[in-house]
Symmetry: C2
Subunit: 278 residues, 2 copies
Amino acid sequence: MGSIHLPSHEARLACRKNQLTNTAGVAPGYLQANLLILPAQHAADFHDLCLRNPVSCPLLGKTPTPGDARFVQPSGCIQSPDFDIRTDFPQYRIYQNGKYLESRRNLLDVWTSSHVGFLIGCSFSFEDALTAAGLQPRHQRTGTIVAMYRSNIPLLPAGIFTGGHCIVSMRPYRSDQVDRVREVTRPYLSTHGEPVAWGWEGAKQLGIMEINKPDFGEPQVFEEGEVPVFWACGVTPQMAVEAAGDRIKGLVFAHEPGHMLVTDWTSDDLDKLRPGII
Amino acid sequence: MGSIHLPSHEARLACRKNQLTNTAGVAPGYLQANLLILPAQHAADFHDLCLRNPVSCPLLGKTPTPGDARFVQPSGCIQSPDFDIRTDFPQYRIYQNGKYLESRRNLLDVWTSSHVGFLIGCSFSFEDALTAAGLQPRHQRTGTIVAMYRSNIPLLPAGIFTGGHCIVSMRPYRSDQVDRVREVTRPYLSTHGEPVAWGWEGAKQLGIMEINKPDFGEPQVFEEGEVPVFWACGVTPQMAVEAAGDRIKGLVFAHEPGHMLVTDWTSDDLDKLRPGII
């Protein structure tokens, strides 16, 4: 019963009822998650893809039993017994043969007995740490959705998942703030960690030419002296699905960018979530 | 005393006495390791670099206590009490301010009380699996050192380690063998796993234009119908050191490419070495 009053659980209930959509700034201190759900026959390849690309696809949890939408492993990720991966994100996207079909408020009528879900760390998780350091992200202040771009960073292939590239999220900061921004986000290894590139030169290296035309989310306003700072983004798996195309048999589900799951992991769990054997 | 007769231990002793140099094909079934040793003040950044780039820099072990060249964590990595990270590779390279200075047979007179060593998985580890599948790598048959190239795959930054790129190793195979080659090496997540690119188009995507001019090792002969197949390579940390330049204070040591440490991990330990929390 205790978990019923966690801010993370309250947030999930609000998302389930569609009272909440953009989850940026919601339930500070709790780690937020991106989603990818796919048929069990492709789960091992996708799991490998995440382990090989942990900056863009850091694993926070999984529904390991095909068809069971409620049991998440490890148990620390979701502690409330009423959880349902088909309803507790504010909004979902459906893919078929690697192509976006439509968006839905829940997955109750498309979920099958073979589906397996992966929860992937989200950069919203470190935004309250940035705010506490006097570095509140622009999109939080303006109530917009963070800007996201396709980059040329290759996703290292795993099984059927070949040919994908990383998506990056972008927050504007002054050049003299970049070192501090890197420091604050560095411990968040399991939610994308420190930036992958920064500055106008960094944008060019990522192949991003039009900063005012993000591929997902909304454009962000730059104040004088500010430069773009880029983090890997958990929308990346959706690009892997696009690249895999009709090698994926069956429907794939993902979250709507910016519309995340609030998990019960907190920033105190970051050490526990560190990948690797040492 | 039991470990004294392990083929891995025998190989280390032979390397220590410089009776062995190129370790390809040595002690089949045992995982081999690349090396990077650096001053303790940079160890946390380098550790993060490995966790963020596990395909090129998969961690197999570490000498965690500054100045202690003999104690390796986890204990399964090296089981013989006579181990010494300063002598048990066949050959070493010394770097200062990111620049290669010289090669040495051991590090006894340059090692300091602040040095920390990292053991990084090596693709030699899966070569006996390839051989068992009838896919023996060309360089083993010809007794040459595997060809290695600088690629344009960015190394995702961590602390002082910014601006580096991945090194890749290359083995020629027929196009119709690539699927099987990918399958055989896929389980070896902790020693670079499956290829990062293949085919002549793949070479171009990595920015490799002259296949007969490797940056390390020796050129490989292509037979009719063969294409290059590329794996991430544990020489990559040396490129990260080059890119960090004079941000690194103190001497850095690495192995000579192709001259590896034979560890006591075997292919039976691959599941245990899998990164990630699930």
